[in-house]
Amino acid sequence: MSDHKNDIQNPAPNYWRSFEELYSDQKFLAEKNNEFKEGASDAPNTDKMSPISRRKFLALLGASAAVAGTACSDYQDKGEIVPYNNKPEEITIGKANYYASTCTGCSSACGILIKTREGRPIKIDGNPDHPVSKGKICSQGQASIMGLYDPDRLKSPKRKIGNGLDDADWQEVDKEIVLALSTIGSREIAIITKEIVSPTQNEVLKDFIKEYPATKVYSFEQFNESIRKNAWQKCYGSSDFPFIKWNEAEVVVSLDADFLGTGSHRVENTRLFTERKNIMNKKFNRLYSIESNLSLTGMNSDYRLMLRPDVQYSFVMAVINELQKKNVITNSVNASAFSLSKLAGDFGLSEKILNHLVNDLSKKKGKAIIYAGDHLPENVHIAVNLLNEELGNSELYDTEHSTVNVRNLSSLNEFKNLIDKMKAGNVGVVIHFDTNPVYNLPADFNYAEALQNVDEVVTLTEVENESSGLSNHVLPIHNNFEAWGDSKTRTGFYALQQPVIAPLYSTRQKESILLTWINGDTTSYKETIFHEYLMANWENSIYPTLNSKLAFNPFWYGALHDGVVRSNDISNGIEDFNYSVIMELKNAQVKSDGITIQIKESYSLRDGRFANNGWLQESPHPVSKVTWDNYAAISTTTAKQLSVKNDDVIEITVNNRTLEIPVFVQPGHVDNSITIETGYGRTNSGSVAEGAGFNANTIFFSTGGLTPWVYEGAAIKKLSRTYNLVVAQTIYDFTEKDKKDLPQKRGIIREGTVEQYLNNPHFLNGKEHKVLESVNPPVPYDGVKWGMSIDLNKCLGCSECFIACNVENNIPVVGKEEVDKGREMHWLRIDRYYSGSAEDPKVSLQPMLCQHCDQAPCEVVCPVVATTHSPDGLNQMIYNRCVGTRYCSNNCPYKVRRFNFFNFRDSFNDGYQESPVFALLHNPEVTVRSRGVMEKCTFCVQRIAEARSDATREGRTIKGSDVTTACQDACVTNAINFGDINDANEEFYKYRNHELGYYVLEELNVIPNVTYLAKLRNTHSEEA
């Protein structure tokens, strides 16, 4: 280096860029002469470089950006959340409003309470003020909320163009129809309706007839009580069959009657019947069920005998004969040709049970009731009426109330005449008034063919159906929750129906459509036209008869608030029995050969009107647990005789018509008989119903059978193909010794008899219920601790709780394929267990849901602590934390956890449940779960949170009785109780600590918070 000191004193007059340059560093000077830095011009060392080329890097970058963009872009459009500019007075944000109304799902017209949130109806429960339904409704009533938001609903009127239907304008179609009505000439206008229970609707029809005198109204229900009513008319001179005080009957004999499962009075029947299955006051009835197919009623019977429908007459006559021989009854009917012991021999009936039956009827005179199924022939009903009369059982008829027929159903003969007129070209206009005769009328009428001779066919409907497909005009009508109405089903009260949401689409109230046509001026339509008509009819016709002290307006708003109005009309009572009718009871055996076919109403879809409801389609059959399909139920013996097994398709031929349908071997089915439920096999009824099941109505006939629902001598042929029936709960092997009666052996099902219980109330658990030791220290719960009890004596397995849970908790429909893989999402299921033999099993039922165990096995295995325990004893799920390992489900002994293998809302039916209108159905208090998340019963934690919030606002602590779960609210029989385990003052505490209480799989010591109360069968002591 140079002498710095001198250089600084005499700096060179040039510019420098670095000290090296300034001081002429030798190394720097050497490098300065090189153009490039050392190594810069060398070839790159590829060994030290990344193996990815530039091109590949950019390709990967592009692909990863595309993947990231695709993956992250699938968030739903949540829309804008903006506050109301003008908040409707009725709405408090976050607070539900309720509206009293009437269900129009069937002719029962039960009172309902519609829960709405921010204007959207989201849940239906029973109206507690309604004198019949008393706060409860059936599963169809609850699931009907899905119908309002069904994306398949018709959104505007349609007109037939070529072979299809095209959108049209209301005024145009009105004009065309009014023209057809006013130029009808000598031809008939036929209006086909369901059973009419609305007095005001009936007035509209009368006005229509006044305006268009060529009109005739035909009312039809595929399943009805016409035979029972005709028999009653012959016996007592009136067609008003009385209601039965089931709660006062000590013995009930059901002759092929599924009075707890189907029929129009089932909610009331169920409630009253189970009042006498009471472990608190120790009152128990005894049910004998003599039936062909294992029904919901038969499952809940104490004694069950299997008998074909065509032998029921012989059976009831044999009972009469037996009681005559014992001098219990002394009528003059000659029943000597019938004998119970012969029937027992011919049909394999237990003589011991028959003796019990006869003895019980003898001993319980006036406290027993015999009840025959709607589908049985008139002579069976007459014999039953005679037997009840002679035994003094008419005491159990409710004489204070009687049915009111606003308009009688038309007979099959009247329909036959209509079809003949249609075929002859004498009918100019047919109006399907919210009904579907092409599907529901007997097949031998050939109604669809007859329609071709009618110039103008109009169908008023919510969703397209088989009848709309053959119509010139299809007019969309309001859903029940958008419409006004009233009903009168029995003496003592009227009920009102009010709309709780403005119409979602360009639909009209069906009565308003008729009123517009009556008016003739198609421009006169306005949305309030029927509302005004209804109010006027009430003010002028109904209100004056009620002797109300209020002026009409306050009366009207009060009536809408309550949903029902008491009236002063009284029952006509019951006339004396007309003994001349016994001449119709022939003293000759009725026996048929071959196979008997019975057509039955579906438990889920009824006559098909609920076919497009996914919740109901996916609801497992209460007995067979089959979903999404109907089938031919046959006995094990008949299956062997026909060489068929489950899923084999058979061809049934009756009256030269055939039905191809898969077989389901039903334990407990009578031999040489087949039972088929209808309501399936719809061909034009919305995308959910499409392809589900088989149309059994192809063998539903007006004549030729024992009754329209029972045919004898069917020919059966096994076809070479099979069809996959999906069963939500399979039947374990009856023959394998270890598995036989396994649920009983493992203590899942624990049962006894009434006799056992009365003799020793502690027979089930002993006087001191043993508490098992646990390695885990008990966790103290100082405040409220939630628990549930389920009384298996009252639980009938009807599925009301199941549907209520679906609606409350936004449970998606997953479809048949996914149910087949065990991926149904139901938080609550009803397990059905058989015991005994496959030919004649006993049935035990058990609703199964998350048991909220204190020592929950699911909690300890979750690697991300997504399932935890709350301080009030709830087993909680944290959806955001769940990563979907499914360890919890694996470790749950009750198998009640359900995993979202897909976003089922998107994957089912091409995104049907993702439609914006469907989203309005969701309960905003419950998270809508997506793919990859585990879920299960929460004990309706949203209701607990609401009750806690209310209690805090009121400055008190929450009580157990402040909360009711959705399943509890829905349970018609009050089998479910919910409350605080720690509060000894509550009703729930009695059930939780009842001597019949037990935990399922108690030996696991997971300490469940659901207590089951053991079922008691009211059999005789020798069978204990």
């Binding site: 091109r55 950019l58 390709a59 592009g62 950006a65 595309a66 963009g69 695709t70 872009s73 699938d74 829309g79 409707p88 009725e90 709405i91 607070k95 539900a96 409003n97 309720y98 509206y99 009293a100 309470l113 709405t116 921010e118 204007g119 959207r120 507690p128 994306p151 958008e482 009010q498 709309p499 709780v500 949401i501 403005a502 979602l504 509302h531 708003y557 809408l560 608030h561 998107d906 091409d910 995104g911 993702e914 439609s915 914006p916 209108v917 309005l920 209310d950 009785s961 402040d962 009711t964």
Partner: protein
């Protein structure tokens, strides 16, 4: 593939993906005509109730 062509293809592909995922037209949606907004209006003539505690009044 030359660089320019690669970027053209890449760019077009990305645009296609973004279009199908984010396009407001939703031409590629599973439910093409089902995204119409539904207006919810309450019926002012109906008479409401409210739940107070366990009672519905």
């Amino acid at each position: 593939m030359e660089r320019k062509k690669f970027f053209s293809v890449f760019g077009l592909g990305m645009m296609g993906i973004l279009f199908t995922r984010f396009s407001s037209l939703k031409l590629f949606s599973k439910i093409p005509n089902n995204k119409k907004k539904i207006k919810v209006k309450i019926n002012p003539l109906a008479v409401k109730r409210q739940k107070i505690g366990n009672k519905n009044v």
